[in-house]
Subunit: 223 residues, 2 copies
């Protein structure tokens, strides 16, 4: 059960209480969650202004910041990990300033009403594993080249890239070089251009016949 040391919850705190809790959470590198009425300025690679409204603010222990509106998967404003924080009261407003160096970016959040605030330390050692559903396709091609074409021999593959994309090099039944590009998603014209550039460059290099094969769940009409 939640130890008092582990999670602190304030419902409808005063701005002074909230300011104190924010300072404490940030200095102790605890995770901070706040809900209230706020407005946000961002300046850095771009510049943005978010007018007042009710949102969720999350500051994580690694110094990343998220501002979430009531809708949408993405945060409306954010700051990547590594920020340095300043916070305090400015008149009737609680401000939190998150500064990132390299590139220099500043995010400022101003609260005039705080509905609730939570500060906590979470322990998460759980392993995360992601399996691309097309990864089996890649393995299948490596193990069973005949899935693509009879008589195909695999020579090499670009194993450095992440699952979902791999270049496979092989030789077909007639001794021609074969370049296979696997796309996990619908392949657009950019994929075709990229493959054709590979093929051209290999053709120039080897002076042999080279074929390119594009393997994808779907190909845009410009095939």
């Amino acid at each position: 059960m939640p130890d008092k040391e582990m999670i602190t919850v304030l419902e409808a705190p005063t701005r002074e209480e909230a300011a104190e809790a924010v300072k404490s959470a940030l200095s102790r590198r605890r995770i901070l969650m706040m809900v209230g009425n706020c407005w946000v300025n961002y300046q850095g690679r771009a510049r943005s202004i978010l007018n007042p409204g009710e949102r969720i603010l999350i500051i994580k222990e690694d110094g990343s910041v998220l501002v979430h509106r009531p809708r949408g998967y993405e945060p409306v404003n954010w700051q990547p990990p590594g920020c340095i924080f300043h916070s305090g009261l400015e008149g009737d407003v609680l401000f939190i300033k998150a500064v990132r160096r390299k590139p220099r970016e500043v995010l400022q959040v101003f609260f005039d009403k705080i509905y609730f605030l939570a500060a906590m330390s979470l322990l998460d050692k759980g392993e995360f594993s992601l399996h691309a559903s097309e990864e089996e396709m890649q393995k299948a091609i490596m193990n069973q080249p005949s899935l693509i074409e009879d008589g195909l021999r695999i020579i090499a593959y670009e194993k450095k890239v992440e699952p979902g994309f791999v270049d496979v090099y092989g030789v077909d039944r007639d001794g021609r070089l074969v370049v296979i590009e696997i796309k996990r998603r619908t392949a657009g014209k950019e994929a075709v251009l990229q493959l054709s550039r590979y093929v051209d460059s290999l053709r120039g290099e080897h002076g042999r016949k080279v074929r390119g094969i594009l393997v994808a769940p779907k190909i845009a009409r410009q095939a």
Copy 2:
């Protein structure tokens, strides 16, 4: 101040209390925030497993889902808006299942400890404005072509040419066609290739001198 109707906070609820609160929040389309020990399965475009650990779960009123670990800007698991939910108790475990159609994706979160739960309705009508996007750069150039070059006349923007779209299209002081490609970030060789394809295509089409201009904060060494 937070109306009881507006925000409900449960500290260290029992699983039964939490299950009730979750059902209520989901059916009334309120925003749900939970903190506790959980594990997560995802299956859809890919497949993932997240082993047990302490995390933050947020379900928004539009049916989007976020699972956040204690670190990192990005959610470890998520679901875009529009999900349909099922939840309940399965033995000692509180489960929440978020199903998305088109594409079919299923996210399942299982809690065995809930440290904290909040359900709320937030009102957010605040306008969001972002500046210094590529769009704004384009407008600035459209309004003030001399920013690029004296004597430049703009003819069109987002003009469709063979390989794709040209950002800005004009004629310079000496009557030569000018193609301007705008990149908000460091322009790599891909941008150069793209621009050169545009230039080639237009040169072939018009049989006139064509210049390409790349507008970007920085250009990779392969210029």
